[in-house]
C-alpha cells in the first residue's frame, strides 16, 4: 500500500509558520527510515483486505477481553472499544537510550523536589521556584508536610507525555505524577500486536514489556515498612463505572493482588484492613487509582464515598503506604512544569536530557500580553486541567473561540499557561483501509520505589482525526503499539 507524508500546508494562523512534522517512518527525502524498513516491506506486501482482516482481528481481541469504555446515553449505555491502530510505532535503541536516561533524571529530580517542598522547602528559600506558585497550587497538600515517605519516592508511577518535534528531538510536553493511566493499553496493544503482526514482530527484535506488572509489584512492595514480612498490596479503584476500571482490574489480576473499592476497606486504630470472607485482614500498601481529593473523606473532600475514612491518619502514622503519595500533583502542575529544567539542575547539577516545550506563564504580565497578541499560534492550557479539557489550540480555533478564551485569560491569568503549537510527529496509521499519517505522542511509564525502573515501551496515542493535534482518548484519540528495538535495532536480523 502507498503511504504519503502529511501535507505541510497545515491549517495555521497568520503568525504560525508552516512546518513539516517529523514522520516516524519516512525521512524528508522520501526514503523509509532503516528501523521501519522491515515493517514497511511487510505492509507493502499485504493487500488491502489482508490489512482490514488484521484490523478486525485486533478489534475482536479488544472486544473479547472486555477492553472497553462505556458511553452513557440518555436511555441506554453502549460499550465501545478504544480505537486501536494496527501499525506499530517503532523507536530505535539509540533514541530509546536518550529517553530512558532523560526520564530517569527527570523523575529523580521531581521526587527530590517533592521531598524538599514537603519538608525544608530549600528550593523556595533559594528563590529557584516562586513560593506562591507551589504553595498556592490547588494540588499542594499541606497535610503532607514533614511526612516520612520511604526512599523519598513520592511519585511511584509516572507517565510523562513526550512529543517529537519537527527537528526529530523528543521533548516533554507534560508530566503525570498523580494517577497516570494507560499502561494497560500499552500491555494489551502488545498482546494484540503479537497476534496480528507476528512475523514482523519477531523480525524486529522488540524489547519485552511484559514484566511491567512484576516491576510494579516490586516497586509497591519496596514502599512497605521493612518490618512487615509479606506486605499486603492492594489496588484501590473508584469502581466499575470508572473509565479506567479495566486497567485497575487488569493490573490487579496480573500482579495477583486484590482489587478493592473504598467500601472494602476499614480503618481501626490507625491500621487499614480489608473485609474478607474470613474477617479483617491488614493492608500495607495501597496502589490507589483514586484522586487525592477522594481518598479520605475525613482529610480531603467530605462528600467522597470512594475513599476510606481515616486512611490518611493511618498513612501519617506509618501503618500503611499510599502510592502515589497524595500531593504529588504539585510537581506536574502546568505552571511548575516551566521550572523543571531549573529543578533538575538545582538538585542534580545536571542539564535536562529531555528538554521542555517553551512555556509562557500568563501570571507574568509581560508574558500574558505576548500570549494575548499571539493567540492564533499558541496552545493555551488551564493549569489544573487535564485530559485535553480547558484547552485552546489557537491555529485550529475559530475567532469567536479565541475571543472567549482571551476573556477568560484576562479574568484569571494565573490559571493559564501557553505554549507554541508544536507539530507533533506523524506515524503511519490504517485509516478507512488506507495508510495515512496521523499525529502521535508518546507516554512511557516510569516506576520509582527503592530504585527507578523504566519499561522499554510506551503508549503511543494517536490523533485519529486528520490534522488534529489532540491525542486524548476523551477527544477522539486512539492508540497503537510501540516497539522499542533492542541493541543493533534488529536490523541484522534481516537477510
Amino acid at each position: 500500500m502507498r503511504y504519503a507524508l502529511a501535507d505541510p500546508s497545515h491549517p495555521s494562523g497568520a503568525h504560525a509558520v508552516a512546518v513539516t512534522p517529523y514522520d516516524e517512518m519516512i525521512d524528508p527525502t522520501g526514503e523509509v527510515r532503516p528501523h521501519y524498513a522491515a515493517l514497511a516491506q511487510r505492509v507493502a506486501s499485504l493487500a488491502e483486505e489482508d490489512l482490514a482482516e488484521r484490523q478486525r482481528l485486533l478489534e475482536r481481541f479488544f472486544l473479547l477481553q472486555g477492553i472497553t469504555f462505556t458511553v452513557y446515553g440518555a436511555e441506554s449505555s453502549t460499550e465501545r472499544i478504544i480505537p486501536t491502530d494496527l501499525l506499530p510505532r517503532i523507536i530505535p535503541a539509540t533514541e530509546w537510550a536518550t529517553i530512558e536516561a532523560g526520564l530517569t533524571q527527570r523523575l529523580k529530580a521531581l521526587n527530590m523536589f517533592l521531598a524538599d517542598i514537603y519538608s525544608g522547602q530549600k528550593i523556595l528559600m533559594d528563590g529557584i521556584v516562586p513560593r506562591e506558585l507551589v504553595l498556592g497550587a490547588p494540588s499542594y497538600r499541606r497535610e503532607m508536610q514533614n511526612l516520612f515517605v520511604p526512599h523519598q519516592a513520592y511519585a511511584n508511577v509516572c507517565g510523562s507525555d513526550l512529543i517529537r518535534k519537527p527537528d526529530g528531538g523528543f521533548a516533554v510536553l507534560e508530566d503525570n505524577l498523580r494517577v497516570p493511566s494507560g499502561v494497560s493499553y500499552m500491555l494489551a496493544n502488545r498482546e494484540a500486536a503479537k497476534r496480528t503482526l507476528p512475523g514482523s514482530f519477531r523480525m524486529a527484535g522488540v524489547r519485552r514489556i511484559e514484566e511491567y506488572p512484576d516491576l510494579l509489584l516490586s516497586t509497591l512492595r519496596s514502599m512497605a515498612a521493612d518490618w512487615r514480612p509479606n506486605p499486603q498490596v492492594v489496588v484501590l479503584t473508584p469502581g466499575v463505572y470508572n473509565s479506567a476500571y479495566f486497567e485497575h482490574a487488569y493490573l490487579a489480576r496480573l500482579m495477583g493482588v486484590p482489587l478493592v473499592e473504598g467500601r472494602d476497606l476499614v480503618t481501626h486504630d490507625n491500621m487499614v484492613y480489608m473485609r474478607t470472607t474470613t474477617g479483617l485482614r491488614r493492608v500495607d500498601v495501597i496502589y490507589r487509582r483514586v484522586d487525592d481529593d477522594f481518598v479520605d473523606p475525613l482529610s480531603f473532600r467530605r462528600d467522597s464515598s470512594l475513599g476510606v475514612a481515616g486512611l490518611f491518619n493511618a498513612y501519617r502514622a506509618g501503618n500503611v503506604v499510599i502510592c502515589n503519595a497524595p500531593g504529588t500533583g504539585v510537581a506536574d502542575d502546568k505552571a511548575v512544569y516551566a521550572y523543571v529544567p531549573e529543578i533538575i539542575s538545582y538538585y542534580l547539577g545536571e542539564d535536562a536530557i529531555l528538554p521542555n516545550i517553551e512555556t509562557y506563564l500568563c501570571r507574568e504580565p509581560s508574558q500574558l500580553s505576548h500570549v494575548l497578541a499571539n493567540l492564533d499560534s499558541l496552545v493555551v492550557k488551564a493549569v489544573g486541567a487535564s485530559g485535553g479539557y480547558g484547552m485552546l489550540v489557537g491555529p485550529h480555533a475559530t475567532q469567536a473561540e479565541r475571543e472567549a478564551f482571551a476573556e477568560a485569560l484576562r479574568a484569571n491569568p494565573d490559571n493559564y499557561i501557553a505554549q507554541p503549537t508544536i507539530q507533533l510527529s506523524t506515524a503511519p496509521c490504517l485509516i478507512d483501509g488506507a495508510i495515512d499519517p496521523r499525529h502521535v505522542d508518546l507516554r512511557p511509564f516510569v516506576l520509582s520505589g527503592d530504585k527507578i525502573r523504566v519499561t522499554p515501551g510506551a503508549l503511543t496515542r494517536v490523533a485519529l482525526r486528520k490534522g488534529s493535534l489532540v491525542v486524548n482518548s476523551s477527544q477522539g484519540g486512539g492508540s497503537k503499539d510501540t516497539w522499542v528495538l533492542g541493541e543493533g535495532d534488529g536490523l541484522e536480523a534481516r537477510p
Binding site: L64, G66, A249, R253, H268, T278
Partner: protein, 314 residues
C-alpha cells in the same frame, strides 16, 4: 483469603448463570409444545408460567409471547438476557478473580445476546438461539472448572449455582405436581416436557426406561443420587461447598449456615422416597425452597455483611 464483596459477586455469577440456562430450557420446551396440537400444550404452558411466576400470573400470555419474555425481556429481571447481563456485570466487577478463559466465554455470550442481530436471530430460529446459549453456558462452566483454582472463589461460584438450581427445580416440582396449583401434570407429553425442562429426560430414561410416570419423575428429580439436578444432589453439593468455604471463619460459637445446609442435605439423604405420599412430598419441596432462601441469607450475613465488631483484631 478473598474480599467479601468479591465472594458475593462470584456467588451471584453462579446464580445468574444457572438461572439463564434454566430459563433457556423453559423457553425452548414452551415453544416446542406449541408445535403439537394437543391438550398437553396447554398443560405445558400452564406449568412453565406457574414455574416462573410462582402462580401469580394475571394476564395469560400466548406461548410465543411468554417464550419471548422469558428470553429477551430486559424489564423482566428473570429473563435470560437480564440474567446474563447481570452475571457479566458481576464478572466485570471481579474481573481480576476470573481467569481470562472464563471471562471470555461469559463476555462472548453477553455480547451475542445483546448484540444488534439478537432479536432477529431469536425470531428466525428460536430453538437454535436458545440451544446456542445453553451450549455457551456449558462452555463457561467447563472453562471455569478447567482453569480456575478450585479454592474459595470457586466454592462461592458453585454455591450460587447449586442454591439456584435447587430452587429452580423445586419450583418446577411445585408447578408440575403441587396440589394447590391447579391440575397436576398427567399427560405423557407434559411429563416429558417436565423432564426436558430439568434436563433430565435422557438420564431418567436410562434409569427407569420409557416408563414415564408422575411418581417416578418426582422421585427422580428429588432423590436421585447421581443426577446433577436432583434436589438430593444439589443440596449435597451446597453442604460440601459451604463447609469448605466456611472452614476458616471464626463464628465465635455460633453455628452459621453450615448447620442449616447439613440438615437440608440430611432431609433428602435419609428420606424414604417410597414411603412419601403426595402431600409429604409437597411439604418437603416447600421446606427445601424455604431453607434454600434461609441459606442464601445466612451466606450473606456470615461471609459478606458480617458486623465489624465481631471480627476486629483483639
Amino acid at each position: 483469603m478473598m474480599l467479601a464483596r468479591v465472594a458475593d459477586s462470584l456467588y451471584w455469577i453462579g446464580r445468574y448463570v444457572e438461572r439463564a440456562e434454566h430459563m433457556c430450557r423453559l423457553a425452548d420446551v414452551l415453544l416446542n409444545a406449541t408445535l403439537d396440537r394437543t391438550e398437553s400444550s396447554g398443560q405445558v404452558a400452564g406449568m412453565v408460567m406457574s414455574a416462573i411466576t410462582d402462580g401469580h400470573h394475571d394476564a395469560p400470555l400466548s406461548p410465543w409471547d411468554a417464550a419471548l419474555a422469558i428470553t429477551m425481556d430486559s424489564e423482566n429481571g428473570g429473563s435470560v438476557t437480564a440474567a446474563l447481563a447481570r452475571a457479566r456485570e458481576n464478572a466485570r466487577q471481579v474481573r481480576d478473580q476470573l481467569t481470562t478463559e472464563t471471562w471470555e466465554r461469559l463476555n462472548l455470550i453477553h455480547l451475542r445476546v445483546t448484540g444488534e442481530g439478537a432479536a432477529r436471530d431469536f425470531s428466525d430460529a428460536p430453538s437454535q438461539f436458545l440451544h446456542d446459549i445453553i451450549a455457551d453456558l456449558h462452555l463457561f462452566k467447563g472453562a471455569a472448572d478447567a482453569t480456575m483454582s478450585h479454592g474459595e472463589g470457586w466454592g462461592f461460584l458453585q454455591l450460587g449455582v447449586f442454591i439456584e438450581r435447587a430452587q429452580l427445580i423445586g419450583k418446577l416440582l411445585q408447578a408440575g405436581f403441587g396440589r394447590n396449583l391447579g391440575r397436576p401434570v398427567t399427560e405423557h407429553a407434559a411429563m416429558t416436557a417436565l423432564l426436558r425442562m430439568s434436563c433430565a429426560l435422557e438420564p431418567y430414561l436410562r434409569k427407569h426406561t420409557a416408563d414415564i410416570q408422575p411418581t417416578l419423575i418426582r422421585q427422580f428429580l428429588m432423590f436421585d443420587e447421581d443426577f446433577p439436578r436432583s434436589l438430593r444432589f444439589s443440596t449435597a453439593r451446597i453442604e460440601e461447598h459451604l463447609s469448605s468455604v466456611g472452614r476458616n471463619v471464626d463464628l465465635g460459637g455460633g453455628a452459621g449456615p453450615e448447620r442449616l445446609a447439613g440438615r437440608l442435605k440430611a432431609r433428602l439423604l435419609y428420606a424414604d422416597p417410597k414411603a412419601l405420599g403426595g402431600e409429604e412430598s409437597d411439604s418437603l419441596v416447600a421446606t427445601v425452597l424455604e431453607e434454600c432462601a434461609r441459606l442464601h441469607e445466612g451466606i450473606y450475613d456470615t461471609f459478606v455483611a458480617y458486623s465489624l465488631e465481631m471480627r476486629l483484631p483483639a
